[in-house]
């Protein structure tokens, strides 16, 4: 790589040239990194500073880290924030558990049993999962209106209904991810257990599920994050304020009174985003692997 000119024989000159090359090849990346990291991280620093700013309004939030106070965090207790937080945990948590159980069961069936219509079902799933549920939100709304007339617990403004809607998308998006992983577990394990008298349910729950635990965690996390971040379906389904999720509630804060509730919003963001951030960073490798594998593989 390095082509040190021949006339520079003394070591000082050689060092100088080496530093030059280092600067040209590697060194410049550090100052650039500072700029890029500033671009990436500035909004996050800003929201932390705004959450600590006792004035609590958007005006004046630009004096970053000038004052520190936990008043915004305390003031969250007087709002519906914690109710929304809990709702989000309930909805996204149930959606994640449901998605894992249904997806794993389906992947087990596709991976272990050979039955009529297996290929056809796999292909149909592949096609269906391309069309995200959110495009059909009008029909979801109308369906829940009709269901609510019969079963109020599954109608508009019910968290249970929203969970059910999210679960509708569970099979399509997760089965392939899991199917691939299930296929990597050798059939011989099942067969020897079967010889020993294990039933299919025992094989599924006691043998396979522990072996596929990593993919279960990834699917749970992906389902949780997607329910956590969903806005359009949650906004349509959840009408009354005490049923809202964080996405709906915090949108309402910012869209109605952007300037006056800024401190509250910032504090809410910090509290809700920190766990997600931590979880995401610790599982980063699996998530990216999951995203890649889940995209268009048959």
């Amino acid at each position: 790589m390095s082509t040190v000119p021949l006339d520079e024989r003394n070591s000082e000159g050689r060092n100088k040239a080496r530093r030059k090359i280092w600067l040209a090849e590697v060194g410049w990346k550090y100052p650039l990194a500072v700029i890029l990291i500033f671009y990436a991280v500035f909004p996050l620093l800003y929201v932390v500073s705004a959450s600590l700013n006792p004035r609590g309004s958007l005006a004046g939030s630009s004096n970053m880290f000038s004052t520190f106070s936990a008043s915004n965090f305390a003031a969250l207790g007087e709002t519906m924030y914690w109710t929304w937080f809990l709702n989000t945990l309930i909805v996204a948590g149930s959606a994640a558990v449901g998605a894992v159980l249904m997806g794993a069961a389906a992947a087990y069936a596709f991976s272990r049993f050979r039955f009529a219509g297996r290929r056809l079902s796999l292909t149909s799933l592949l096609i269906i999962q391309m069309f995200p549920q959110t495009i059909a939100f009008v029909a979801v709304f109308l369906l829940l209106l009709a269901l609510g007339e019969v079963v109020p617990a599954l109608g508009i403004n019910s968290k249970l209904a929203l969970i059910a809607v999210y679960l509708g998308g569970a099979l399509g998006s997760n089965t392939f991810l899991m199917y691939g992983f299930f296929n990597t577990i050798p059939m011989e394990i099942d067969e020897s257990a079967k010889m020993d008298g294990a039933s299919h349910a025992q094989i599924f729950w006691r043998l396979i599920m522990p072996l596929v635990a990593p993919i279960l965690a990834v699917v749970a996390l992906l389902a949780f994050i997607s329910a956590f971040g969903d806005f359009i379906l949650a906004k349509i389904v959840l009408v009354s304020e005490d049923n809202w999720t964080l996405a709906v509630g915090m949108y309402q804060w910012v869209s109605n009174q952007l300037t006056s509730r800024w401190g509250l919003f910032a504090a809410g963001v910090v509290l809700a985003a920190l766990p997600v951030l931590a979880l995401f960073l610790s599982l980063q490798r699996y998530i990216v692997g999951g995203l890649t594998a889940g995209s268009v593989k048959g």
Binding site: A40, M130, F137, A146, V296
Partner: protein
């Protein structure tokens, strides 16, 4: 290891079977209760579907056949109802005029028209009346020929036994109901409003009219000035003599040219699609929205891909110290919940108080989100900020998986850095990431959250009813047109536009499949 020890280890199925029985018991209880209430609400479609689903579930879990279905059924049921059905139903609604003014069946429209035309007639019979309460619900109790009858807004009048009547035959005690004393009624103004606006139907048939009261002690039968002729499908106004007849657009049109406000939904063929391209107040904005949707999706993918790839090329360098730290800091925006980032940027880009203007533009008041061009730039900028880390991660992974020997061979053959990049690195990277780029495009195409959180689609185009704006993409335009969040609803048109999105996504996915295959062959 003998066979015996194994069988002992696996044990009998006893526990599992009990759990199954318990779960199926819950499913059956729930199913039967849904079936019963569907029967009561006369929702035949829901009734039929739940009977079928319950039968299938019981068959699958109690028969020894259908083993795969035991594992597939739960997911399939949810998939069928909340995804497949809703997609199909969208297709159906797209060809109807379902929406405000056409929200129900013809019978519902007739009932609504009859109720709206209800009047107190000079010869209307009146009855002694008491206001009654059951929890939050209020109702009327009237005395008719010595018999006390009770009803609410939902439940028509029905006779109750063992009720007591006082002076002037006014009911004073009704079993199961709390009679509200007159004194309370006179002092509580909110209750008064509820009472004077309460309409208790006489029977299930809207033509029989309803009981209403003005002062809370006498109930009068209000009957409709319209008369419904079922065989001729006409409503006749008994006062003016105007005859309203049903037309094929789901409306009642009078012989004097007037129209009743309530209609029902009917199949109107491809009219919604035609309207989207010919109605002058819709076609222009929708065309702009469609073009912008493509621009937004393509720009988002291309720019974030380029940025992410550039970062990956620069920082995937083994000579660099602290690579891990740099990498972690650079992907932070991706780990941050997207809707929060969008809302956060909305505040940061605020023209008056936003930190972007104050810190980086010397306190100017640039309308990042209120100027059409700037708003579009801002939306793409924020979306790139949100999604470049994904491409950074993906590209880093792909770079590390590049065949080292190919690159080495190229170096030996005298290929320069640029030549190696464009002849080897880039093509191999594209093969690896093309499917992701296509699904990312489809995702951006429908990224409602970022648009709605950041700009709500605004700034709005002047003079269109749905308030479509410069940054609206198709899905947010559909949201506004549908009216699911209030305002004038047009489910038909919204669904028709959803179909357009379906087609676009379908075509892209089909292309994607073929393209992936081609790229792989090329490799």
């Amino acid at each position: 290891m003998t066979g015996e020890s194994h069988s002992r280890r696996w044990g009998r199925m006893g526990g599992g079977f009990l759990v199954k029985l318990l779960l199926m018991g819950i499913v059956n209880a729930f199913g039967v209760s849904v079936i019963l209430s569907a029967w009561q609400a006369q929702s035949w479609a829901i009734l039929g579907v739940s009977v079928a689903l319950l039968a299938i579930a019981d068959w699958v879990y109690f028969s020894r056949r259908a083993l795969p279905l035991k594992y597939l059924l739960p997911g399939l049921v949810f998939l069928a109802i909340f995804q497949v059905f809703t997609l199909a139903y969208t297709g159906y609604v797209a060809f109807t005029n379902y929406g405000t003014g056409h929200a129900g069946s013809m019978q519902q429209a007739v009932d609504a028209a009859l109720i709206q035309a209800e009047k107190r007639l000079p010869d209307s019979p009146t009855y002694p009346l008491a206001v009654v309460r059951q929890g939050d619900e209020i109702g009327f109790a009237i005395t008719d020929d010595g018999e006390v009858r009770v009803g609410t807004a939902e439940e028509p009048l029905s006779a109750v036994e063992d009720a007591a009547v006082g002076d002037g035959d006014v009911p004073t005690a009704v079993p199961g109901w709390e009679v509200i004393p007159r004194a309370q009624l006179l002092t509580d103004t909110t209750l008064q409003q509820l009472v004077t606006s309460l309409r208790v139907p006489v029977s299930d048939d809207a033509e029989e009219g309803s009981i209403r009261t003005r002062e809370g002690s006498k109930g009068t039968i209000y009957s409709s000035s319209l008369e419904w002729d079922e065989t001729g499908q006409t409503l006749t106004n008994t006062e003016t003599g105007v005859v309203y007849s049903a037309n094929d657009r789901g409306e009642f049109v009078g012989d004097d040219g007037s129209r009743l406000p309530t209609g029902w939904y009917v199949n109107i063929g491809a009219d919604n699609f035609v309207r989207a391209v010919t109605d002058p107040s819709l076609a222009g904005p929708l065309l702009t929205v469609t073009l912008w949707t493509f621009v937004f999706a393509i720009a988002s993918v291309v720019v974030s891909f380029a940025v992410g790839l550039a970062f990956a090329l620069i920082y995937n360098d083994p000579r660099l110290r602290g690579r891990k730290v740099i990498r972690t800091l650079l992907i932070l925006p991706y780990a941050f919940p997207a809707f929060m980032s969008a809302l956060l940027w909305r505040g940061m880009l605020n023209a008056e108080f936003g930190v972007v203007n104050e810190l980086f533009f010397f306190g100017s008041t640039i309308g990042w989100l209120s100027d059409p061009v700037l708003a579009r730039l801002a939306v793409v900028f924020v979306n790139v900020w949100l999604s470049y880390p994904y491409w950074f991660l993906v590209s880093t992974g792909a770079l590390q998986a590049l065949p080292a020997d190919t690159l080495e061979a190229a170096t030996i053959d005298g290929a320069g850095r640029w030549r190696r990049f464009q002849a080897i690195t880039l093509p191999l990277l594209l093969v690896a990431t093309a499917p992701l780029a296509i699904s990312s495009f489809a995702f951006s195409f429908n990224n409602f959250t970022i648009i709605y959180m950041l700009t709500e689609g605004g700034p709005a185009f002047p003079g269109n009813q749905a308030r479509l704006g410069a940054t609206d993409i198709l899905i947010s335009a559909i949201y506004k047109i549908s009216g699911v969040s209030g305002g004038v609803a047009d489910y038909g048109l919204a669904s028709a536009l959803s179909i357009v999105v379906f087609i676009v996504i379908g075509v892209i996915s089909a292309l994607a499949f073929r393209q992936t295959r081609k790229l792989e062959e090329y490799q």
